[in-house]
């Protein structure tokens, strides 16, 4: 045992260890530069989640270092050696009380802090939020934006079929106006309210950069997900609930753009569906934008 410890502390071994660890990070460095930290965070709620994350990170790191430091010290200091006898003790009630109470207080405090944030994140979406219907299926995503009237056609989950994948009413004039895409384009700086649906099995809407995960449950509308993106960028929706053979590749692009670009993207599509499209649109044709 002692020989083994000695050989670990030997400089040559340490140098090798340092090399082995940096080699991995250097390899990744060439690709992105972010292998140890969290991915970029682009939503307001996400930043708060990160703050809570860092609180727990430092708390657990401190506990880990303290307990494991003590533990390793005990393991070395109280190893078997000649003439040494163990101390006869069955425990200490005072210590038991201390190490029961202290974690209880810390854990309850964490639960309160966490649940406050949980409530804040799930407060009702602000009135000015932009509403988008997100519909998942084996194995892809479709988004439904409001048409020229600015209102999403009403839907009913019970009406969802292969012929009517969004569950909207074909007789309703709003239905024909809806803009259907396979990518999620959203304006930065404005709250976006998602209506999450599934047409078959449970999928999940997961975007690590948004710090957002929510299952899409068939037969239900999940209406409590909303967020505000803080900056523009390109991301991906990932299905993160095992949903069948194509699950691993069930993704869709997300483009967070400026409000201006957003209008420029959405307007022509709305006008096209309304039958009033400009003869010469100043944006690329729909197919170019929506094809993955």
């Amino acid at each position: 045992m002692r020989n083994l410890l000695k050989s670990i502390i030997r400089p040559r071994f340490l140098a090798f260890l340092a090399f082995a660890l940096t080699a991995v990070s250097a390899m990744a460095e060439q690709r992105s530069g972010n292998i140890w930290g969290l991915p970029p965070c682009v939503t307001v709620h996400g930043e708060k989640i990160d703050s809570l994350f860092m609180v727990i990170f430092w708390l657990t790191t401190t506990v880990f270092v303290l307990t494991q430091g003590t533990y390793i010290y005990f393991l070395i200091a109280y190893r078997k050696r000649p003439g040494h006898k163990a101390f006869y003790s069955h425990g200490n009630d005072k210590l038991e009380v201390i190490w029961t109470t202290a974690p209880t207080i810390v854990f309850l405090a964490l639960a309160i802090y966490g649940n406050n944030l949980w409530d804040e994140i799930h407060r009702q979406a602000p009135a000015n939020s932009f509403e988008i219907d997100v519909s998942s299926y084996q194995f892809g995503w479709q988004m439904r934006y409001p048409g020229i009237s600015g209102k999403l056609a009403p839907m009913d989950v019970r009406r969802i079929t292969d012929q009517d994948p969004f569950g909207t009413d074909p007789a309703n004039p709003l239905t024909a106006q809806d803009v259907i895409t396979t990518e999620l384009v959203i304006p930065a700086g404005r709250p976006v309210h998602l209506l999450l649906h599934s047409r078959d099995v449970i999928h999940s809407f997961y975007v690590p950069e948004f710090r957002l995960y929510q299952d899409c449950v068939p037969g239900r509308t999940i209406g409590w997900v909303w967020f505000k993106a803080t900056r523009t960028g390109d991301f991906q929706i990932a299905c993160n609930q095992l949903c069948g053979t194509g699950h691993y590749n069930m993704k869709a692009p997300i483009h967070v753009v400026t409000e201006e670009e957003f209008v420029k993207w959405l307007k022509p599509r709305q006008e096209k569906n309304a039958g009033t499209a400009l003869s010469k649109p100043d944006v690329p044709p729909v197919a170019a934008l929506t094809s993955p």
Binding site: R31, I35, N92, L95
Partner: protein, 589 residues
């Protein structure tokens, strides 16, 4: 029954003796002796460990080198899982995910911790001749065996094994059109049903045995901690398993008979499955860790030559974990579409259940504090268990906080977390216990050098495999995806996937010194002393081979299980069946 047992009563072999006197293979195939049943479970679990572990290595290969043919085992897998050149196909990857999880939980961790050590230790440690219902005990093993055959059979069904994960979320699992593997899924459910029956019959036996067959003087609070832990675990099994069995039966109905329990278009509820599954599934987590905690506590105490620190606190912590374990299942479902306030409530109960785990950790540290630590191979695994459990416990706090689950739910962070608890915890302690009781089970000492090689390989490669998974998860890597490189944000962390895979291969290789050690040691003549670790509990008072019926004379117990280094005694241990000399007072605890 306990009233009729008095000290000094010779055990009369009555109906217990069926297995006695048989020779050859039959001795090991049908035997009502709890010690032989333990061995049956042990060898079956070792087989499943190899199968389930190989599946994990195949998955890791695919994650590090997507689409490349798997060396060695690629061609052994059926065509539903691999392409012609031996590379995993996405559907096959899902099948391996499902089978790996199911096999490791139901066919490795449970049989080793409960089937092997429950069976082997309970009667020996409480001074009983056998289990209360020996025949039922053997039936329990054979139900387990049949369920294993059915589970493995699903791999060879048309369509293949189910690819719905060990959690089998409905309606993916309950509707043939969605999963494409109705036969495999039906067999999976059938296997879990049979496996559940096996667990229930085992649990009934453990509970009855512990309550009614303790030797004179063996009060509840004189029972060794492994017995306490497995006793509480058995109660959890009785309460949790029927829920899973019923839920699995409903999946069989939905799949084959057109019912719609989980299908919304027929009036069913997809979340019903999740509630039922996790009502079983969370106690299941504790079913896997409580016995591990009990076994570890004892091994730490024996090898530190010190009484377990806070024995009663340890017992109460086990009971608290068992009770609280039934009100935390919703923390698997924070983001499932369940009521949000319910999520918050489960967040609180989840934080609370961390307390007894913390208590246990502090008591383990207290146990080695000022001890006289003997570094044996079982001790090494037990020592590592505590550290691995601490890492797994601390990473659990992240997920327990409801908002953080929005970020890390179903990522590799959770994969890292539960492997630290289930592998670093349950499997490490299983290894510790196998080494510790190997001399008692086989009458032979194992090879120390091979044991140390096994320990260091397991320890290093385990951490190399699973620690980087925390980073992968925080980078946003989803669990259960066959190819991470299809995502832009994951391509940049691909080197970490390679590291994990190297670790997994090493972990696979680490099994070789273990198996070689066990089989080499079994091949030699019995050479182990009756009490190689100078332990205090009753099983070490018996020398090899232990007859069916165990104790020639029922022992009397005079004190608690962990009287080590009692001042004034020449030896540093005082067996439970030996009275302390008049001039020595034992500490009351």
């Amino acid at each position: 029954m306990s009233a009729t047992i008095t000290a000094g009563t010779p055990i009369v072999e009555t109906g217990h003796g069926h297995g006695h006197g048989k020779h050859g293979l039959m001795h090991y195939l049908w035997n009502t002796d709890h010690k032989v049943i333990a061995l049956q479970f042990l060898f079956s679990a070792a087989f499943f460990l190899i199968v389930g572990g190989a599946m994990a290595v195949a998955m890791r290969w695919q994650l590090a080198f997507p689409g490349h043919p798997i060396p060695v085992i690629g061609h052994l897998l059926p065509s539903t899982i691999v392409s012609d050149d031996g590379a995993l196909i996405p559907g096959g990857y899902n099948m391996l995910v499902t089978m790996h999880g199911t096999i490791l939980v139901f066919f490795v961790a449970m049989p080793v911790l409960i089937g092997v050590f429950g069976n082997f230790l309970i009667p020996l440690k409480i001074g009983a001749g056998d289990m209360a219902f020996p025949t039922l005990n053997e039936i329990s093993y054979w139900l387990f065996f049949v369920s294993g055959v059915v589970m493995m059979g699903s791999l060879f069904m048309p369509g293949g094994a189910p690819g719905t994960g060990w959690t089998a979320y409905a309606p993916l699992s309950s509707f043939a059109k969605y999963n494409g593997t109705p036969l495999g899924q039906t067999l999976w459910c059938t296997a879990l049903f049979l496996n559940g029956l096996s667990s229930l019959t085992g649990a009934v036996n453990y509970i009855t045995t512990v309550i009614t067959m303790r030797a004179p003087g063996m009060t509840m609070f004189r029972m060794p901690l492994p017995v306490w832990a497995i006793f509480i675990t058995a109660i959890l099994l009785i309460l949790a398993i029927p829920v899973l069995s019923a839920a699995a039966a409903l999946i069989i109905f939905d799949l084959n008979f057109g019912t719609t329990f989980y299908k919304p278009s027929g009036g069913g509820q997809p979340l019903l499955w999740q509630h039922l599954f996790w009502f079983f599934g969370h106690p299941e987590v504790y079913i896997l860790i409580l016995p591990a905690m009990g076994l570890t506590s004892e091994i730490l105490s024996v090898n530190s030559r010190k009484p377990v620190f806070g024995y009663k606190a340890m017992v109460w912590a086990i009971i608290a974990i068992g009770a609280l374990g039934f009100i935390v299942w919703g923390h698997h479902m924070y983001v499932s579409g369940m009521n949000l306030t319910l999520s918050a409530a489960f967040g609180v109960s989840t934080m609370v259940i961390a307390v007894p785990s913390a208590i246990k950790t502090f008591n383990w540290m207290g146990t080695i504090w000022r001890g006289n630590i003997h570094y044996t191979v079982p001790m090494a695994f037990a020592v590592a268990f505590v550290s691995m459990f601490v890492i797994g416990g601390l990473s659990g706090i992240f997920m327990a906080a409801t908002p953080i689950d929005l970020f890390v739910h179903h990522t590799y962070f959770i994969v890292a977390h539960f492997h630290y608890v289930l592998f670093g915890g349950s499997i490490f302690s299983a290894f510790a216990a196998i080494y510790f009781w190997f001399p008692k089970m086989s009458g032979r000492m194992f090879n120390n050098t091979l044991g140390w090689i096994h320990f260091w390989m397991t320890f290093v490669f385990f951490n190399l495999t699973f620690f980087p998974m925390h980073n992968l998860g925080l980078a946003g890597m989803m669990r259960r995806i066959a190819d991470p490189t299809v995502y832009d944000c994951l391509r940049q962390v691909q080197p970490l996937n390679v590291v994990c895979t190297i670790g997994a291969m090493g972990l696979g290789l680490s099994t070789i010194p273990f198996l070689v050690n066990m089989f080499m040691s079994l091949a030699k003549a019995p050479d182990a002393p009756a009490n190689p670790w100078n332990s205090t509990t009753l099983e070490w008072t018996l020398s090899h081979p232990i007859q069916h019926g165990n104790f020639p004379v029922i022992p009397t117990v005079y004190h608690g299980p962990y009287e080590y280094s009692v001042p004034g005694l020449e030896r540093d241990f005082l067996p439970q069946n030996e009275k302390a000399p008049e001039n020595i007072t034992l500490e009351v605890h």
